[in-house]
């Protein structure tokens, strides 16, 4: 591998690059999809290639190829330099990178049971058992049970002498039951819409106990068909971790991406209402609100040894006791606010440039109340569980979420079920209204493997640790 990386870096330097890096990535994927007891698809994927990123005259260029070879390394490096020179014809501010020590070493996701080594028929049997349990419940129109695994073997080398090797393994699985009556279609899933994902091995899948939760999930899907719609109003809401992590993702993770604040995602994903001059003073949330970007937490989809420009994994405070204090950042953007990179540059494979992405953006737990205590402490409220739909404006202020289930809380007891539940608001108004956060007993990592950003599009795997929380005076029951 060093032959190829050295050749690419040498060629880039010889052609005028002041900085260059190269990533060689081999990605393996496996998916299993079962629908209503029918094995709908089993697929195994393999992708391999390398990408060369160069700085020439203060401008970026990037080129990539699936063909691994030293001659191709020359061609791709030269193409990257040519592209950078074209970039320089429309450049107003030359790029400078922060200083960091050359990165060297090896990192591997801790895996107890290699998901690619578990026999396929074993994995299919586990999913089939869960899917069958879903179908034990009468009145279910169709079911779906899925498994996925991804492994990236990644070598990073840079012209400053960095050389790292990483093996990152992610797995996920889940199930859903769908009930239909006329125009009404209700879906109930477990552990999450689209499955729960982690950086782990097959032991994570076994721990989900899909089959053990299937009958409950299917019963709830059927029950939702006859539940009343959630009435409109302003209510106290309690967000179960299965919804709270998406609230964190959309309304804290994305607006704290520093490239958005600088406008470089404006043409696609949008910008941010959190601007650098608000650092250290803007009240984002209540004093209970502590949010960090932590690439070191075990199990997170955003956990690694180094980011994709060789910055070591770290924990960066974003919100401290409700005050906005930090960003997800890169070597290019962090110096512009007088800081060092927070190590958040991540690329979706060999053929994409690294972008500022979430690592694991976590709402820290608070001692004092378990999640059950928060519910018991709520006289009149609503419990929202499992994300169903999500939307937020391009500056990450006005959001609206829907959940699969919503239950009334009266006198601290969970009661009647509502269907098609939604809540909406403005990001900082919601977080400022948070008056209870669950303790560590319900805190765990959640993750999404399909966070979209960038042009050309990239799907990011990002993690979120949450324990559940309560918010006051939230508008619910938005109707068309």
């Amino acid at each position: 591998m060093r032959d190829l990386t050295s050749r690419a870096l040498d060629t880039a330097s010889a052609l005028g690059a002041s900085y260059a890096d190269v990533r060689v990535v081999r990605r393996l994927e496996e998916t299993i999809n079962i629908k209503s007891g029918r094995l709908e698809g089993v697929a195994g994927g393999e992708s391999e290639g390398f990408g060369v990123r160069v700085l020439v005259n203060g401008a970026w260029g990037f080129a990539a190829s699936h063909h691994l070879g030293t001659d191709e390394a020359d061609r791709v490096a030269a193409e990257a330099v040519r592209i950078a020179k074209a970039s320089a014809t429309a450049l107003r501010n030359a790029v400078t990178l922060d200083a960091r020590p050359a990165a060297t070493g090896r990192y591997e996701t801790p895996v107890e049971e290699d998901p690619f080594a578990v026999p396929l028929d074993r994995k299919i049997a586990d999913l089939m058992a869960a899917d069958e349990a879903l179908r034990h419940v009468e009145g279910i129109a169709w079911t779906e049970t899925v498994f996925g695994a991804q492994r990236e073997v990644k070598t990073f080398a840079a012209s400053d002498g960095s050389y790292t090797e990483q093996v990152i393994t992610h797995v996920g699985a889940g199930l859903e039951a769908n009930a239909i009556d006329g125009d009404e279609h209700q879906r109930r899933s477990y552990p999450d819409n689209g499955g729960a994902w982690a950086s782990a091995g097959y032991e994570f899948i076994r721990g989900l106990d899909l089959a053990g939760n299937a009958e409950r999930v299917a019963s709830e899907a059927r029950e939702l068909l006859t539940a009343p719609p959630l009435p409109s109003g302003t209510r106290t809401i309690v967000l179960h971790p299965s919804q709270l992590y998406m609230q964190v993702h959309e309304s804290c993770g994305h607006p704290t991406e520093l490239d958005r604040a600088f406008g470089t995602e404006a043409s696609y994903a949008g910008t941010s209402f959190l601007m650098p001059d608000m650092l250290g003073s803007f009240r984002y949330g209540s004093e209970l609100c502590d949010i960090v970007a932590d690439a070191t937490v075990p199990g997170g989809l955003g956990s690694f040894g180094w980011d994709d420009e060789g910055v070591e994994a770290q924990c960066v405070p974003l919100i401290k006791e409700g005050i906005f204090v930090g960003y997800l950042s890169s070597r290019e953007t962090a110096p512009r606010i007088g800081r060092q990179s927070g190590g958040a540059m991540r690329a979706d494979g060999w053929n994409r440039i690294p972008l500022i992405r979430m690592t694991n953006v976590n709402l820290l737990p608070r001692d004092g109340m378990r999640f059950e205590d928060i519910v018991a402490d709520t006289d009149d409220g609503l419990l929202f569980e499992t994300n169903r739909s999500w939307s937020i404006d391009d500056r990450r202020l006005n959001f609206q979420f829907g959940t699969e289930v919503c239950r009334e809380i009266k006198g601290g007891k969970v009661g009647r079920l509502y269907r098609n539940a939604t809540y909406t608001g403005i990001t900082y108004e919601l977080w400022r209204s948070m008056d209870a956060v669950g303790d560590a007993s319900s805190w765990r990592m959640w993750g999404t493997p399909n966070c979209g950003k960038g042009e050309p599009g990239q799907a990011g795997h990002v993690g979120h640790g949450v324990s559940g929380a309560r918010f006051r005076n939230v508008r619910v029951g938005v109707v068309a």
Partner: protein
Amino acid sequence: MSATHGIGGDPEEALRLAREVVEAAESAGADEAEALVVAGESALTRFANSEIHQNVSSAEVYVNLRFVKGGRVGVANTGRMDAEGVRSLVERATAITAHVDELEAWPGLPGPEPFEPVTGAWSDGTAHATPELRAEGARAVIAAADEAGVTAYGSFSHEVEAYAVANSHGVGIAERRTNAQLLTVTMGPDKGTGYAEQCHVDATAIDAAAIGREAAQLARASANPVELVPGDYPVVLTSYAVVDVLDMLGYLGFTALAVQEERSFFEPGKRVASPLVSVADDSRDPAGLPVGFDAEGVPKRRLELLAEGVCRDLAYDVATAARAGVRSTGHGLPAPNPYGPFPTNMVMAAGDRSLDELIGGMERGLLVTRFWYTNPVHQKKVIITGMTRDGTFLVEGGRIVGPVRNLRFTESYLDVLAAVDAVSRERRCIKGFLGGSVVPAVRASSFTFTGVTADE
């Protein structure tokens, strides 16, 4: 971007590789095998704050093998095209097949059908596009923004692709395709934003300066937006917003799998939209981004999805067609495909009004440039929530009176199409979920806005 290495944009080379993979699969014991090869090169120049900040190119190949033995189906894919890559691909697909059960209703891979090669899918202009051409386009947009006193953000991209499918039943079909897209968001100093986009098979046909001027003018016009009380308003939706309506209908309703799973609004003969709304899926329309066949090698048939507001045709792939006892319409996606078939080239019929006439016909309503971050709230009723973005304007007495702050909507797209009372003559080619759509602007008599964003 000349295709000088690998397969590049050579369809015969892609078909040769597809056949090689099928033969290798058959030699490994497959009763049936299908190989899809997509090989090409893509490039994108991205600009922000009126300067280029990202600039990339990539040469890629994707080979997807469906290996069938005794009704057992395994799928594997690879990004390698060397002998070892093919060997590994076949080995993995074979291994999967050995571990899965026989499908109860395996319809078999399709056989060959008559195919008239599609015209207009390829442009030498795109095939030879360079980083310098993209930089020139970016500079033209930036110059238009500079002139208007606003800042430009956007991207200029193009790709060439060789697309080939071969299978054991004699399917051997290939074509080459190109496309290009330039889009820009412009932002002014007083919270004004604008948007414009152009897609074309030929990168050299993109009029970057015109796109820049259109977006810059919008950013100027939308400066200092005021808050409007949410509620029901008549609307004019530009093409950039209408494409989202079509995409959502395609995703939630026009696909046979959604109908078979009883989660679609679609019923043949049912009126769901105004008689002014006709939507076809026409992969040969030269105004779009033409393609000839799908990922299963089935030639694409023209579909009348909505004929004057009435549900007519559905998109089928081989599996859903077999369940329904009909032929595939050529709308299959690469296997394994849990999402079902998809209409990739939607074309909405033009009307007889100009955009100014659509606006002029509103006593009090809103002009919406585009939608953002839309997501289904109720799939079967196609109730969608999302935000307006990059220019939302209050119209009174048929004239634009000023910009308003972005609004949240929660609305059934079917109800919107039912309320359409005028359609524009002009249509645009805009990239949709999976292909190029050709869409006009529309006016609808009612649209429900449920919130407004903050002014932080």
